[in-house]
Amino acid sequence: MRTFAYSRADSVEHAAHRTTPDAAFVAGGTTLLDLVKLDVLRPSELVDINALPLKSVEWLDDGRLKIGALVTNTDLAHHPEIKQHYPVLSQALLAGASTQLRNMATTAGNVMQRTRCPYYRDPAAACNRREPGSGCDARHGLNRLNAVLGGSEACIAVHPSDMCVAIAAIGATMTLSGPDGEREVAFEDFHRLPGDTPHIEHDLGDGELITAITLDAPLVPAGSYYLKLRDRASYEFALASTAAQLSLDGEMIGEARVALGGVGTKPWRCPEAEAALVGQPAEKATFERAADIALRDATPLEHNAFKIPLARQAIIRALREATRLARQTGEQEGQA
């Protein structure tokens, strides 16, 4: 580990002004400290933001829910408003990492977490994301864990978050605070596709700090489901995952939201698949068609081709389960 300066920010404005270009904010540190120890990230300065007042969860007047950047993954997963109105987010959070990591990890930190591509994490390997222009050892290497959606010649690294997949399905707005004041960015625009510049991972300027994520108003009445497929039962990143939400209009699908994890270079919302669900009967054939549409552009590599049929299975099963839950909700409301 290289030496670095350390300071503690006592206000958002303060945090934004004190940082130098290769400074990093540190909250839970679950990704950052790991990568510093591996000599992958080499910040000259760490600005500890844990003292900032960004730990609340509150409803806005327009029916949206605003989550402070420093709310821990554990607190968010077990928050009563989240469990009741955004269960898919709670499920996704609890499918990620381990209890110990979730206790430390924060909402904004989760958004900012780095890829688990093994070549990114190894300073001796070629990686355009870590070292622009050095090449990509994953493309012709052991790319089992890499992306089948959104990749480029330069990079095929998966965005590893579960939480972000659920947030992509829900829809959200990021609040960023920087030297030039506050601005908002749609969640789906925050993470960037790698293209020719995989080292630019997101839409965050120098000194800018994520202060909140505001979730779109919940779908009602709806069923939602997060399904994560992986080798073992716990503590592993997704090979393929799906966050599905839908509302029912009788036997027909009203609204639908589908996002994928483990397969894309960013949290992967599937608007065309959603469109193919709306107004259609909530049944297997519909789900299969939507899954095929969602994966239409998927590009396999030598070792990750299985992710395409696996993601297809994840979409179909998650939609089936979301439908089942939507029916249950509907029945309960009917009884009430």
């Binding site: 093994p118 390997a125 012709h140 290497g141 039962a233 503590y235 299985f306 299975q313």
Partner: protein, 743 residues
């Protein structure tokens, strides 16, 4: 006479009874000092710099930046390393090593993670930071072989590693029913909890070397290091009081220990090296990948007529390690025509070494999967097929078994599992989205024993002391030694102190091969008896508590002696004679029984898997096992060994694989997130029965050892269950999601 020494054989009071670990309190409270936690005055920290290529030449090392960093004291490398004596490597001489190439011996790079330098600094963090600043330049060469699984190369045939009887080729050719299948198993990591660690300190002006090592064999390490450094064994002490497991990769000396001791000598200060997990996985040992072909021939009734088992495993370019897959095969089933062969292929990765049930666990996967294939060919129940071929004598030696109850293991486990509810039709058992598969396999491990010495003291303060230079690698050796002493003296367990893990103690065995229990306890018993003789002599002597009595008339009871009327404690006897203690020395070794009987444990695993084909998910739901290990000296820790083996078997069957990049042989998943082992959530319901048939032909305590057998047979039982669920035969481990999707 008494007494207790006889009752230990037949009606034990402590042995065979649930006994809490006597070192448990130390572990729970953090007082048990593991090597990596130890501190010595003036100690420095070493951090190895690992090669980032797997094949080529180290051209240069740029050290200036690293040397100028805070706290850095020295950097050792090929250009400045001490000249040492060539490494020994002999099992017979007790100085076998895990990697015969000494560190920094030449500038050639043979595997990813090979040490190219050792940075020594005042703190751990400084040593790591400086190690990351060392710039190594390499001339990389093509042609690295990343894995046995990625080449057609056959490897070199190992004379003496195979066996043959009858005419297996002819019998196979003439068999009514045959199976001919090839199996592959990926290389695995031991992934023991505690990483390799050495703390080396030279004393007496560099005349004496004290080494703390997380070691499964302190005497082997001492003997090897003494020869490498050219010093007398008496001037070298290796200490290993607590070990966070090893699974075989801490049996013998590795290069990091040599580098650490050289650094300590050069700098005149103690030096500690704890390998980071990445280096522990690249250069600290692995189970080699294997390729095996099994040919079985049988008649229509299911009687085996031919077994041919040909295996190839990996070794590194710097050490010859033979992981003999077929070693159990000649003894497994009654069959007149059997042959095994073993080849070894050199590959460009870190040296493999024994890993829990070495060789046999791989071989049994192939053999027990092939037996399931044969059962399918025959239309026969797989349990019945195994019972039909049960060997009443050891078919390899022709000797009777000392004690064998495989048939009972098979029937008992089948009954508890509910095997009779199995519908043999593939895919016929369903539950919602899931297909249920039932599978089973037999398991086995040889029962070995080594020579051993021990020492026991009975002390005037009422305590008892036992010492042996073996190790407790976390399996409970401290406790069973105390149990043996308590059994033979009638003393309270809480009064017994046990010392292990030092070469200054009487010579003890490796903690490996499931041999330690059967090896150590008889020597401890001999030492106890010697001490009891000594205290009787004191008691009947002049001024003694039983002055004038006949020593033979005294019985041992409740930590003292009795003549039937009066009980006097050991402490009182010693006090009366103004003695601090009496000493007993003992030794024990296997004897003629080895030429009269064959010694081997057997058992059976029954597995229920559940596959959800809609999401390509397979999970092991439950495992029911019956294992015959003779007497379990401490049943909870014995059971724990089998349960741990079963969980490890789930990893071997479904998850674990060291991933070497085919292009350059670099290990890309050298961390515990990407190298997938079972989590708690993956652990099935486990029901282990330990049959209780003490094997007194093996040793007077009747135990045969339990460290390895639980792992053997688990992976094939899983694969056989998956076949039952899906109709697809999986012959390659691990059985991955992509393999399931391909079916």
């Amino acid at each position: 006479m008494n007494d207790l020494t006889q009752s230990a054989l037949t009606k034990p009071r402590v042995v065979g009874k649930r006994t809490p670990r006597i070192d448990g309190e130390y572990k729970l409270t953090g007082r048990a000092g593991y090597t990596g936690e130890l501190h010595a005055d003036g100690m420095l920290y070493g951090y190895p710099v690992p090669a980032t290529i797997a094949n080529g030449v180290l051209e240069s090392l740029e050290l200036d930046d690293a040397l100028s960093m805070p706290g850095v004291v020295d950097i050792l490398h090929h250009g400045n390393f001490d000249t040492l004596h060539r490494s020994p490597n002999s099992m017979a001489h007790g100085d076998m090593v895990n990697e015969v190439r000494l560190p920094f011996e030449d500038e050639r790079i043979y595997y990813h993670g090979q040490y190219v330098a050792l940075v020594v600094a005042e703190t751990f963090e400084q040593s790591r930071a400086a190690a990351q600043r060392v710039v190594a330049r390499y001339q990389m060469e093509d042609g690295a072989i990343a894995s046995l699984l990625l080449t057609e190369a056959e490897g070199e045939l190992q004379d003496g590693a195979g066996a043959s009887r009858g005419d297996p080729e002819a019998a196979f050719g003439g068999a009514e029913v045959t199976v001919d299948s090839t199996y592959h198993i990926a290389a695995e990591s031991h992934l023991q909890m505690e990483m390799h660690a050495t703390l080396a300190e030279w004393r007496d002006d560099g005349q004496r070397l004290i080494v703390h090592e997380s070691s499964q064999g302190v005497f082997f390490q001492r003997n090897a290091m003494a020869r490498v450094f050219g010093i007398a064994q008496e001037n070298l002490e290796v200490i290993s009081h607590y070990i966070g497991s090893g699974f075989g990769n801490k049996l013998f000396m590795w290069p990091h220990a040599v580098a650490t001791a050289v650094a300590a000598r050069r700098l005149g200060r103690p030096v500690k090296v704890v390998l980071p997990r990445q280096q522990d996985m690249t250069g600290g040992g692995n189970r080699p990948a294997s390729r095996q072909r099994i040919r079985l021939g049988a008649d229509r009734s299911g009687k085996l007529t031919s077994v041919i088992h040909d295996s190839t495993t990996e070794t590194s370019l710097v050490h010859q390690y033979v992981d003999t897959c077929g070693s159990a095969t000649p003894s497994f089933y009654a069959c007149d025509n059997v042959s095994t062969s073993q080849r070894v292929l050199q590959v460009n990765h870190g040296t493999p070494c024994p890993m829990r049930a070495p060789g046999e666990v791989s071989g049994i996967f192939a053999l027990e999967t092939a037996m399931d294939e044969l059962a399918v060919e025959l239309g026969m129940d797989p349990v019945e097929l195994r019972l039909k071929n049960n060997a009443e004598l050891d078919p390899a030696s022709g000797l009777p078994w000392s004690s064998k109850h495989l048939d009972e293991c098979l029937t008992s486990a089948a009954q508890r599992f509910g095997w009779d509810k199995r519908d043999p039709v593939v895919g016929s058992m369903r539950d919602g989205d899931e297909i249920i598969g039932y599978g089973m396999a037999s398991c086995t491990w040889s029962a070995g024993r080594q020579p051993c010495e021990a020492r026991v003291e009975l002390r005037a303060d009422g305590s008892l002391f036992a010492a042996c230079g073996t190790q407790d690698i976390g399996t409970g050796t401290y406790t069973i030694v105390a149990q043996a002493v308590a059994e033979l003296t009638g003393a309270e367990l809480s009064r017994i102190e046990v010392k292990l893990g030092e070469t200054g103690l009487p010579a003890g065995p490796l903690s490996g091969g499931s041999m330690a229990t059967a090896t150590v306890l008889p020597a401890v018993a001999a030492a106890v008896r010697d001490a009891l003789d000594a205290i009787k002599e004191v008691a009947v002597g002049s001024g003694g508590a039983f002055e004038g009595s006949d020593a033979d008339s005294l019985d041992v009871e409740r930590g003292g002696l009795t003549d039937g009327k009066r009980h006097v404690s050991f402490a009182e006897i010693l006090g009366a004679s103004k003695l601090s203690s009496v000493n007993g020395k003992g030794s024990a070794a296997p004897g003629n029984e080895r030429s009269e009987y064959s010694f081997r444990s057997f058992g059976a695993h029954f597995v229920e898997i559940r596959i959800d084909p809609g999401i390509s998910r397979v999970r092991v739901a439950r495992v029911v096992s019956s294992i015959d290990i003779g007497r379990a000296i401490n049943p909870p820790t014995a059971r724990n060994q089998v349960e741990g083996g079963i969980v490890m078997g789930v990893g071997m069957g479904l998850l674990e694989k060291l991933d070497y990049d085919p292009r350059d042989a670099r290990l890309i998943n050298a961390n515990v997130a990407d190298y997938i082992v079972p989590t708690h959530a993956d652990a099935p319901d486990i029901d282990v029965e330990l049959l209780d048939y003490p094997d007194f032909k093996h040793n007077e305590f009747g135990g045969r050892g339990v460290g390895e057998i639980g792992l053997t047979g688990v992976a094939p039982a899983i694969a056989n269950a998956i076949y039952h669920a899906t109709g697809k035969r999986y012959r390659d481990l691990p059985i991955t999601i992509e393999a399931l999707l391909a079916s």
